[in-house]
C-alpha cells in the first residue's frame, strides 16, 4: 500500500513537472450577476388568506444578456446559514405551495424584470423555504482554461430569497399552536484582556416549535455607564437548533470608513445581550438577557510602571543611606 502510494506520488510529481509553469493567476473579465428585491419575504397568514401574492424583481448585473431561472426550494437553516434543499424535502415545505410566473426572465445588462409569486397558504401552517434565482452560466466557455493540464474556476453567483410564513389570528397574534422562544446557551467573551476590542458571541437555542429569526442587541458598559449599543446581524434557527450572534467594540466610522476600537483602556466592563425571537411580525417579550464581565487592564504597561516606581524608591533609599544628600545641602 505504501509502495503504491509512493509510486503514485512519484508519477504525479513527474507528470506535474512536465506541465508548463504557471504564468500567474489571471482573472477573466466576463461578469455574471444579479440583484433581487425584496431580499427576504416574511408573511403572516391571516385566517381570511388562502393565497398571498408577492412580486420579485430580478435585475441583470452582469456584462451580457442572461436568462435567470426562479424556482422555489426548501431550506434548512444551520446556525443562521440557509442551505437549499430539493423541493418537498421538509414538512414545512415552501416549494409545494408556491407558483412562480414566469419562472424564467431573459434580461439585457442593467435591465430588470418582475415575476409574480403566489403562495397557497390555505393550510394555515408554518412554512419555510426560499426563492432561488440562478443566472444561466454563460461565461464558462470563453474563460475556462483550454490548454493542456491547466486548472480554472468558474463561479456561478446566485441569490436566495428566504421566505418564512406563520399562521396568525385576525388580531395578528400567532396561533396558540405556534410558539416562539429562545433559551440562552452561552455568552462567550474574554474575562481579562489587556486592551480592546472586545468581541462577544451569544449562542441561543430555539425553544419554540417553529423556525424563528433571532435578533440580539449588545450593550457594552463600564461601571454601569453604557458606552456602546450594537444591533448584531440577526441569525435564525430551526426548532431545537442553535443560533449565534456576535458583536464587537470595533466600529466603523461613517465619515472616513475607518474602524476604531471604542473600548476604554481601563474598564470593568459588562456585556449585556438582549435577544428576542421574531416570526410573522411577532416577537417574544421580554427579551432573553445574557451578561458577562470583562476586565480591560493594560497589565504590561502597569507592570513596567510598577517596576519603574519600585526602582525609583530603591534608588532614593540607597541615595539617602549613602549620605549623598548632604552634598546638596545649602551652605
Amino acid at each position: 500500500m505504501t509502495l503504491r502510494r509512493s509510486v503514485g506520488g512519484l508519477a504525479v510529481a513527474g507528470l506535474l513537472t512536465l506541465l508548463p509553469l504557471a504564468a500567474g493567476t489571471m482573472p477573466a473579465h466576463a461578469s455574471i450577476g444579479l440583484l433581487v428585491a425584496p431580499a427576504r419575504i416574511d408573511l403572516a397568514e391571516r385566517p381570511s388568506d388562502s393565497t398571498i401574492t408577492r412580486q420579485l424583481s430580478v435585475a441583470n448585473r452582469g456584462s451580457g444578456r442572461d436568462t435567470f431561472s426562479i424556482s422555489a426550494v426548501d431550506v434548512v437553516v444551520h446556525d443562521g446559514i440557509p442551505e437549499s434543499l430539493p423541493p418537498s424535502s421538509t414538512p414545512y415545505s415552501l416549494s409545494t405551495i408556491t407558483s412562480i410566473r414566469p419562472s424564467t426572465l431573459t434580461l439585457d445588462p442593467g435591465k430588470e424584470g418582475t415575476v409574480k409569486v403566489a403562495f397557497d397558504v390555505s393550510a394555515h401552517k408554518p412554512v419555510l423555504g426560499a426563492l432561488l434565482v440562478v443566472p444561466q452560466q454563460q461565461a464558462a466557455a470563453d474563460t475556462a482554461p483550454s490548454g493542456n493540464g491547466s486548472v480554472g474556476m468558474i463561479t456561478l453567483p446566485r441569490a436566495l430569497v428566504i421566505v418564512s410564513a406563520a399562521p396568525v389570528e385576525a388580531s395578528g397574534e400567532l396561533l396558540p399552536s405556534i410558539s416562539l422562544g429562545v433559551a440562552p446557551v452561552t455568552l462567550n467573551a474574554p474575562t481579562l484582556v489587556e486592551s480592546g476590542p472586545i468581541t462577544a458571541t451569544a449562542t441561543l437555542r430555539n425553544s419554540g416549535n417553529t423556525y424563528e429569526r433571532v435578533f440580539s442587541t449588545y450593550e457594552f458598559s463600564n461601571l454601569g455607564h453604557v458606552w456602546l449599543r450594537v444591533q448584531a446581524p440577526p441569525s435564525s434557527a430551526m426548532p431545537r437548533g442553535s443560533a449565534t450572534t456576535a458583536a464587537t467594540t470595533r466600529q466603523r466610522l461613517e465619515a472616513s470608513g475607518q474602524s476604531v476600537d471604542t473600548a476604554p483602556w481601563l474598564c470593568l466592563c459588562e456585556v449585556k445581550v438582549s435577544t428576542y425571537a421574531w416570526l410573522a411580525n411577532r416577537a417574544t417579550t421580554p427579551p432573553v438577557v445574557q451578561t458577562a464581565t470583562v476586565i480591560i487592564f493594560p497589565w504590561r504597561i502597569a507592570g513596567i510602571m510598577l517596576v519603574a516606581f519600585a526602582i525609583s524608591i530603591l534608588y532614593r533609599r540607597w541615595f539617602w543611606r549613602r549620605g549623598w544628600h548632604g552634598l546638596y545641602r545649602r551652605p
Binding site: 506541465l19 504557471a22 482573472p27 473579465h29 425584496p38 448585473r61 493542456n148 486548472v151 474556476m153 456561478l156
Partner: protein, 179 residues
C-alpha cells in the same frame, strides 16, 4: 393716545401675520409621495479565474461585487457544483478527476461599503457540495459596489495530472441571502 398705540400696534402685527399665513394656506396644496424601498441584495462575479498550468500548490484570486441596502446584513455561502471534477477539453479523452476537497476557499475583507460591518474572515476551508458560510459572522455592509475578494487554494498534490488535451474546470457556486 400713545398707550392705545402701544396696545394696538402689536395686535395689528399679529393679525397681519395671521392674514399672510391664511393667504399662504389658501394657495398651497398638500401632495403626499408614497413609496416603499424593499431590501435588495446583489452579487456579481467579476469573472472566472484561470490558474493556468500548475505544478505546486497555487493560490488563485477572484472577486465579486456585492450590493446591499439593508442594515440587517446578508450571508454569503459557497459550495462546489459537484463532488468530483472530471477533466475536459477539445480532443480530450477524460480519464482523471479530483474531489472537491482538493480546492479550498477563503473570502477576504470587503471594501467599498458606505457603512456597516465587515464579515469575519475564516481560515481556508475545503470545498464540498454542502453550502458553507464564507464568513464567520455575517456582514452588515451597505453599499452599491462592495468588493469581496476571494482566494482559491489549489492543492496540486491532490490532483491527478491531466491527460493530453485535457484541463480541469472547477465549478463553484456563490450564494447571497439576506439575514
Amino acid at each position: 393716545m400713545m398707550r392705545k398705540l402701544r396696545f394696538l400696534l402689536p395686535l395689528l402685527g399679529i393679525l397681519t401675520a395671521l392674514g399672510i399665513a391664511t393667504v399662504q394656506a389658501a394657495t398651497s396644496a398638500t401632495q403626499n409621495v408614497t413609496f416603499s424601498v424593499p431590501a435588495a441584495v446583489s452579487i456579481s462575479s467579476n469573472g472566472n479565474v484561470s490558474a493556468g498550468a500548475i505544478t505546486a500548490d497555487t493560490t488563485a484570486t477572484g472577486s465579486f461585487t456585492l450590493s446591499n441596502n439593508d442594515t440587517l446584513g446578508f450571508a454569503i455561502t459557497t459550495n462546489a457544483a459537484s463532488a468530483t471534477t472530471t477533466e475536459a477539453g477539445t480532443g480530450c479523452t477524460p480519464t482523471n478527476s479530483f474531489p472537491a476537497a482538493s480546492i479550498q476557499f477563503q473570502a477576504g475583507t470587503m471594501t467599498g461599503q458606505t457603512s456597516g460591518s465587515n464579515g469575519t474572515s475564516t481560515a481556508l476551508t475545503n470545498y464540498s457540495t454542502t453550502a458553507q458560510s464564507a464568513y464567520g459572522t455575517n456582514s452588515t455592509a451597505i453599499g452599491t459596489a462592495i468588493t469581496m475578494p476571494v482566494s482559491y487554494r489549489i492543492k496540486a498534490s491532490l490532483i491527478t495530472p491531466n491527460t493530453s488535451n485535457c484541463s480541469y474546470t472547477f465549478a463553484t457556486v456563490w450564494t447571497i441571502s439576506a439575514n
